[in-house]
């Protein structure tokens, strides 16, 4: 029956580790782990804000902690709304954190300064501090301990204001009433004290084990007809060690019975409880209970009187790791704490390990009875020192991301088939013919290949290989065929391809064209052959436009910069030839200048100069022409492709022609340049 959590050997110690959200906006989450370190996390950025190790952390580990209210409002009744909405300017800073230790001392830690603010020792407890509560208005702090006493501290002076015996056994939990005039304390029985006189006002009995948590759930009595004295009619909640039931009690007038009004049932011992206070009668109380088994149970209930049956939760939240692969099964991730955000519609969940918890804001959806969140916390173990200082987060950029460049399908809208009416007619007309013709042609092809097979083994095996490769999508087989550079072979293979494989072949070629430019050079040869040889077949296809749309787009985007490139090319050539020409003329004119000194022979010298210059420019021109020719060859290939395509495609014809013109224009440019040189 020994409790696993808590870190102490005491079987009746509550499970879990002391932790708390900072008040009002839940900006911070303080957690005192069992190794004695106090860590404060920023909830919004999930960043370790600070870490503090009390000097006596080994002897006196932290047993409980509580955030101080943001600031004391002197002589004013607390107005919740006002404080919450304050968002701009000097926002109310949460600062002090009270830590109770196992040796009975209470430390006040300043989170703003990052250092111990003061220590409350003298006259306090001599045993483990079980619970600390700040008074919301006056600067008082209440603590209870295993030494059976409750101590009221004056925080301003760090002195004991009052100390009294709270129970016959250890006092395990405290809670201050909403109006700040009463105090609930609990060992095994729950007592309601009047703070002014320190007298017991009511007793409540019902828990068999030490009460681990106490909380007021309402701030107004359910029926507002009677005058409200600040306490009568209010409900409060209690949870106990090893108890799967949370009891709800109502403070009533003296003579009525003192047992629990109703109860909530959860799956395990409650570790952390948070609730939203209901401010009027209609508004339900929302309750989030974190259990020792790592689940969160959410309840939503309007408190009004008795209920015999224990209520079960409206919603259960669990977190698990994704099961990687088939071998590992998903493992549950324990939830450590849960707190309602100020809008009451979302919940802050703290999960993972105590040393590196993850804090997440989850929107509530009470319609689902069970929520299982899949979270990967494996990388949370990586040291995060770097981000802690620079506050830079690097989103993941991996190779799995899809990359779209112009020409790849998806970068531009796909070309959709022409309006359906005309298409139907066409398809009706053509489909019948097509089927027959394919069958016939297939038969014919088969015969053909058989015949040719005897003649030339190699060319025979290529079409067969290619068709098999296309059918089976075998990468190796396709590679073997498509990586030939032999033009004749390509032509022959394409000629012998069965017609039904033409479209798959074209698609395969398009796919390969999208790849590396080097492989695209090879594919261009294939594409050219296919388009020239099978142009007539392709033109019969009804759905040609969508089929070849991607190819068209690809080509278009590939040749988009071609015009600019050829402009550049022309300009460069012009420049280079001019430079070389000028250099040549310099070289040749320099002797000429010398000769200029001889006045009488001027005319004959000039003639010779011209001759030399002419020769030079001739040489130059030849070289250029060779270059141009080689380039033109390349261009031609593309032009031809374009031509073939242009013929096939009704839609894109206009544009294609335009590009053709451009191409022609560009090829015209070079001779022009040359003429300029001359």
């Amino acid at each position: 029956m020994a409790a696993g959590g808590g870190g102490s050997g005491d079987p009746l110690a509550p499970a879990g580790v002391p932790c708390a959200f900072s008040p009002h906006s839940q900006a911070y989450f303080a957690l005192a782990s069992t190794d004695g370190h106090l860590r404060v996390w920023e909830t919004a950025s999930n960043r370790l804000h600070q870490e503090y190790v009390p000097s006596a952390h080994l002897s006196g580990t932290c047993t409980c902690l509580a955030w101080a209210p943001a600031r004391l409002q002197a002589k004013e009744s607390p107005q919740r709304k006002k404080r919450k909405s304050e968002a701009v300017g000097t926002s109310n800073q949460t600062d002090l954190l009270a830590l109770g230790t196992a040796i009975g001392s209470i430390l006040l830690y300043s989170t703003v300064k990052g250092e111990l603010h003061s220590k409350l020792i003298s006259g306090g407890h001599d045993n483990r501090v079980n619970c600390i509560q700040w008074h919301q208005d006056s600067g008082c702090l209440y603590s209870c301990s295993d030494d059976k006493h409750i101590v009221e501290w004056n925080v301003q002076t760090c002195k004991v204001k009052c100390k009294w015996k709270g129970d016959n056994s250890s006092v395990s939990s405290l809670c201050i009433s909403p109006d700040g005039k009463m105090l609930l304390s609990a060992g095994r029985t729950i007592k309601l004290w009047v703070l002014e006189t320190k007298e017991v006002y009511r007793h409540f009995t019902g828990h068999a084990t030490p009460v681990s948590s106490l909380m007021f759930t309402t701030i107004r009595p359910p029926n507002e007809s009677q005058p409200f004295d600040g306490i009568t009619g209010l409900y409060f909640l209690s949870g106990a060690v090893h108890d799967r039931l949370l009891n709800v009690w109502q403070v009533r007038s003296e003579n009525k019975e003192k047992s629990a009004v109703m109860s909530f049932t959860v799956t395990d011992e409650p570790v952390y409880i948070d609730l939203t206070l209901s401010e009027n009668k209609e508004e339900p109380v929302k309750l989030a209970v974190v259990c020792r088994d790592g689940q969160v149970h959410l309840f939503e209930h309007i408190l009004n009187g008795y209920c015999k049956k224990p209520l079960t939760s409206n919603c259960t939240i669990q977190i698990a790791t994704p099961g990687k692969g088939k071998k590992s099964t998903p493992k549950p991730i324990p939830i450590l704490a849960a707190g309602f955000c100020s809008d009451k519609m979302s919940l802050l969940l703290v999960y993972g390990s105590w040393f590196q918890p993850t804090i997440e804001r989850v929107a509530l959806n009470t319609r689902e009875p069970h929520m299982c969140l899949v979270r990967d916390i494996s990388n949370c173990w990586a040291p995060k020192v770097e981000t802690a200082i620079t506050k830079v987060r690097t989103p993941v950029m991996n190779s799995e991301a899809k990359v779209l460049v112009p020409g790849i399908p998806g970068h531009h809208a796909a070309i959709k088939p022409a309006p359906p009416q005309t298409e139907q007619v066409e398809s009706k007309r053509k489909s019948g013919g097509n089927e027959v013709s394919i069958e016939e042609r297939l038969g014919a092809m088969d015969i053909d290949t058989h015949k040719k097979g005897k003649d030339d083994l190699q060319t025979n095996s290529f079409p067969v290989l290619l068709t098999q490769g296309l059918e089976s999508n075998d990468f190796e087989m396709l590679n073997k065929v498509l990586q030939t550079r032999n033009l004749n072979l390509i032509k022959k293979t394409v000629l012998r391809m069965p017609l039904h494989t033409i479209i798959p072949l074209l698609q395969e070629l398009t796919k390969r064209l999208q790849g590396h430019p080097n492989s695209a050079v090879l594919m261009i040869q294939w594409l050219k052959c296919v388009l020239t040889v099978h142009a007539s077949y392709l033109s019969t296809l009804p759905d040609l436009v969508p089929q070849l749309g991607t190819l068209y787009q690809l080509m278009e985007s590939r040749v988009k910069t071609f015009q600019k490139l050829s402009h550049l090319h022309g300009k460069l050539i012009l420049l280079i030839t001019q430079v070389t020409a000028s250099e040549k003329t310099k070289e040749t004119t320099s002797p000429g200048q010398k000769a200029k000194l001889v006045y009488e022979e001027e005319s004959s010298e000039e003639e010779s100069d011209d001759e030399i210059a002419d020769k030079d420019s001739d040489d130059n021109w030849d070289e250029d022409e060779e270059e141009n020719e080689s380039e033109k060859d390349e261009d031609d290939v593309e032009e031809e492709d374009e031509d073939a395509e242009g013929k096939d495609e009704e839609n894109g014809e206009d544009r294609d022609r335009a590009s053709e013109k451009e191409l022609n224009g560009d090829s015209d440019l070079d001779p022009e340049n040359e003429s300029e040189e001359e």
Binding site: A44, L72, T90, D95, S122, D376
Partner: protein, 830 residues
């Protein structure tokens, strides 16, 4: 009900932190920096703001520790006052009124009762360094008119003046010369860089100066990146200087370490360079600090450095050149292209941050959460480099998707464009790149919007571009046999007569897409992408476009560049109304029908809040800002407000934030200024009481034992002893900080008088000793009760003291209760 004041414009996110050098406290626990009209006190350990010192009525221009009392801080401001603060408690001690605008402040330990300030009296660009004698007076406000000029014609920036060698001389630089004033000789020597007129050295103007704390050595930084170390400058002829050169761009600031053994320098390279022993060989670097180093300062204890950066950040760096903390305000370095957005997940404000990053700024806690590195490229900070800019970003589908657009354009034809679509992975709680699109358009993307309708089954994104097209991107299934995947593909490309597409937006239910093409608004059906309707007002290019919401969803609003705001009815396809308003910013409120428009007449900016259904605005506020307002956004409130008056109802569910050209983030507040500026004194003030050393435990135990003995023996005597805490005079004496106390002469008589009231024979010397332990056991001690007559308190205190020491017997308990009852009834009577 919340009381309703006038709606005021309040600043959010603070002002620049990098305006002046930050100053460390003597123990390096705190760091001070100027921020607008305030001085902020930060903790160096936690990066948290401990206090905000407010009192100045204009920009604070300089802060220095009081050299004679290191718990005090001087600050000077353009409002012509020097203020002395107690920074531990955040209290203003004194104000010295000088009268003219003060531009910088310097203090020297040797000049006991005077400080040095930079003023400009006659001409606008001529500044003088003057010493101000601070008169000693007990009053809160003192006039300090005794000025004496030290140096004339100096540079305005405090970086160009330095006091050296324990205040023996002061060095100032301007343009091409260095002037040194010796206080003892009262002479000024001036050193001009000989080659200043030479073309080769055209860029060697002085930029900053620092003085060695112990030796006669002045370091000066120059425009060309050189650092010169001047020595032997007592002699105007024999002076020497050596050069240190590492920086390739201007040296922004220099600082010597406390001992003077090393020199720190920084500049645009964002590298902190530490020159050891003032030699070129021995240097250490701390690179990649993110932005230009503007200021460097060194803590008096010598253990910390700090650098202020141009991106509104202060970095605290350890002596061994390791960054230990970053105090980051709203990044203000660069222009904001993305506008203001709200991350639906964290509710943080999102906008451009560091170069290539998106910053997430929490409005609730008013501080930066983190920067999201979108570009993931090393940033090279150099003048004249054209950087890749993050030009557009949008959140979609409740924060599950983030689209970002990066752009770099060196010349008109050389546009590089990239769009990235990030998916929020719940598993890893972070963004993962899903699709990267190179050149999504041929030209700049002008607008980006997600379809955020709740029922839309397929995430849809629309991009509009100057190339005349808008593209619709949808999320499709990209799964193959190897993996399951989703990716974005282009679904539709639309255009309208080759006009440039300038804006796009989806209607609230996602059924309609409005795209504006220059002057024309087109409406497209989002199911079939058919062009449904066009509106054209011929009133100039459309600048903003948005649909009405909720009950006003049948309206479409467009604001043009020529200052016309039009509202079209989508049911009748006709113009409903139009108004003449030069709209700069138009933002719909996601939680209501309201639309906020900020117009810019000739001067200032005006806010109009209206519903599309009626052209009469709900609320008008003129002159919300003197500058141009660039962006605005409605931020949904977590907890709705309940303003009843009609004028404020638009603030009930959302709050409106806007960003001006100088990048100050402003918002509207209805709270009174007093309430806003919650003084720190109102905060929970708990006394610091710490056992300072481990020895305390040993000593404390020992003393406790002694004390107990003493208690046993002299209990009767003690009973009638007044506790020091309860005598007002003594408590006042003990609780006031030592540095604000009047002189002991005044206190003495008061102290003795207070002791005289006691009828006991105990001598005055013994009282504090005995009471030391007693006060820890005392139980009732609040300030209000100090006025009680002593007798009641005595009995009360001693009784409770006993009660703590011993276990209470029943009778004692009863007695105690009786006492308490008496006590409290008496209070009630008061």
């Amino acid at each position: 009900m919340v009381e309703e004041e006038n709606i005021r414009v309040v600043r959010c996110g603070g002002s620049e932190l990098n305006f002046r050098r930050a100053v460390f406290s003597a123990d390096s626990k705190y760091i001070f920096c100027v921020s607008g009209d305030f001085v902020k006190v930060y903790s160096t350990a936690t990066e948290e703001c401990v206090h905000i010192l407010h009192g100045h009525r204009n920009l604070v221009t300089g802060i220095q520790l009081n050299p004679n009392n290191h718990l005090q801080l001087y600050s000077c401001s353009l409002d012509g006052t020097i203020k002395l603060w107690d920074y531990i408690d955040g209290i203003l001690i004194k104000t010295f009124i000088v009268g003219c605008k003060l531009h910088a402040l310097f203090t020297v330990a040797q000049a006991e009762d005077s400080v040095f300030v930079t003023v400009n009296k006659e001409k606008p660009d001529i500044f003088q360094l003057v010493s101000v004698k601070l008169p000693k007076s007990s009053s809160q406000e003192v006039e300090a008119k005794e000025l004496s000029i030290v140096l004339d014609y100096i540079n305005q920036s405090p970086k160009c003046i330095a006091f050296g060698n324990e205040g023996v001389y002061v060095a100032a630089v301007r343009d091409f010369y260095l002037s040194v004033y010796f206080f003892k000789k009262k002479t000024t020597s001036r050193f001009t860089l000989s080659s200043s007129r030479n073309k080769k050295h055209a860029k060697n103007n002085f930029t900053c100066v620092a003085c060695h704390p112990k030796e006669d050595c002045i370091a000066s930084g120059h425009m060309d990146g050189k650092i010169r170390l001047w020595r032997n400058f007592y002699d105007e002829k024999k002076y020497t200087y050596t050069c240190l050169h590492w920086h390739h761009d201007m040296v922004m600031d220099l600082a010597f370490s406390v001992t003077g053994s090393s020199l720190l320098s920084g500049g645009r390279e964002s590298v902190l360079v530490e020159w050891r022993d003032a030699t070129e060989k021995n240097k250490e670097f701390l690179p990649r600090l993110g932005a230009t180093i503007e200021h460097i300062s060194v803590s008096p204890a010598g253990d910390l450095f700090c650098t202020s950066h141009s991106d509104n950040k202060i970095m605290i760096i350890h002596r061994n050149l390791e960054a230990s903390a970053v105090i980051q305000g709203l990044v203000k370095d660069r222009s904001i292209f993305t506008g203001l957005m709200i991350d639906p997940r964290t509710k943080a404000l999102v906008l451009n941050g560091k170069p290539g990053h998106l910053q997430f700024y929490s409005l609730q806690s008013d501080k930066q959460l983190y920067n999201l590195d979108i570009m993931q490229q090393e940033y090279i900070n150099d003048y004249g480099l054209i950087q890749i800019e993050l030009t557009k970003a949008a959140f979609g589908c409740f924060g599950n998707w983030l689209a970002t657009v990066e752009q770099r354009q060196e010349k008109e034809t050389e546009l590089e464009l990239q769009m990235k679509l990030w998916m929020y992975s719940k598993k890893t709680q972070g963004f993962i790149l899903n699709t990267k699109i190179h050149m999504p358009h041929e030209d700049c993307i002008t607008a980006l919007c997600f379809c955020n309708a709740e029922k839309s089954e397929q995430p849809t994104l629309v991009t509009a571009s100057k190339d005349g097209y808008f593209k619709v991107w949808i999320l499709t299934d990209d799964s193959d046999i190897y993996k399951k995947a989703v990716g974005w593909t282009c679904d539709f490309v639309g255009s309208y007569h080759k006009y440039q597409a300038t804006n796009c937006c989806f209607s609230e239910d996602g059924s309609l897409l409005a795209v504006s093409f220059e002057e024309i608004v087109t409406l497209w059906d989002s199911e079939t992408w058919e062009l449904k309707c066009t509106f054209c007002q011929r009133a100039g290019k459309i600048r903003h476009l948005c649909f009405g919401r909720l009950t006003c969803s049948k309206y479409l609003l467009g604001a043009t560049e020529n200052g016309i705001l039009s509202c079209w009815n989508l049911l009748s396809c006709a113009l409903e109304w139009s108004a003449k308003l030069n709209v700069r910013v138009m933002e719909p409120d996601p939680n209501s029908e309201n639309i906020a428009a900020i117009s810019q007449p000739s001067v200032g900016s005006d806010l109009f809040v209206f519903k599309p259904s009626e052209p009469r605005p709900l609320y008008i506020q003129k002159g919300i800002s003197r500058e141009e307002v660039q962006w605005g956004v409605f931020v949904p409130r977590d907890v709705p407000e309940s303003f009843t008056s009609e004028a404020y109802q638009w603030l009930n569910r959302s709050q409106f934030y806007f960003l001006t050209k100088s990048q100050s983030l402003l918002t509207f507040s209805t709270k009174s200024p007093e309430e806003k500026l919650t003084p720190t004194s109102k905060q929970l003030l708990a006394e610091e009481s710490l056992p300072t050393t481990p020895f305390y435990f040993i000593l404390g135990k020992h003393r406790q034992q002694q004390d107990e003995k003493l208690n046993e023996t002299s209990e009767n005597e003690l009973v009638q002893l007044p506790l020091t805490e309860n005598i007002p005079a003594i408590s006042e004496l003990l609780h006031t900080p030592a540095h604000v106390l009047p002189s002991a002469v005044f206190l003495c008589s008061m102290f003795v008088n207070s002791l005289l009231l006691s009828k006991e024979t105990k001598s005055a010397e013994e009282i504090p000793k005995d009471v030391d332990m007693e006060e820890e056991k005392e139980s009732e001690n609040s300030d209000e009760e100090n006025d009680f007559t002593e007798k009641i308190q005595d009995t009360n205190n001693t009784d409770l003291g006993e009660d703590v020491i011993h276990q209470l017997s029943k009778s004692e308990e009863k007695e105690l209760r009786k006492f308490r009852k008496i006590d409290y009834s008496w209070i009630a009577a008061l």
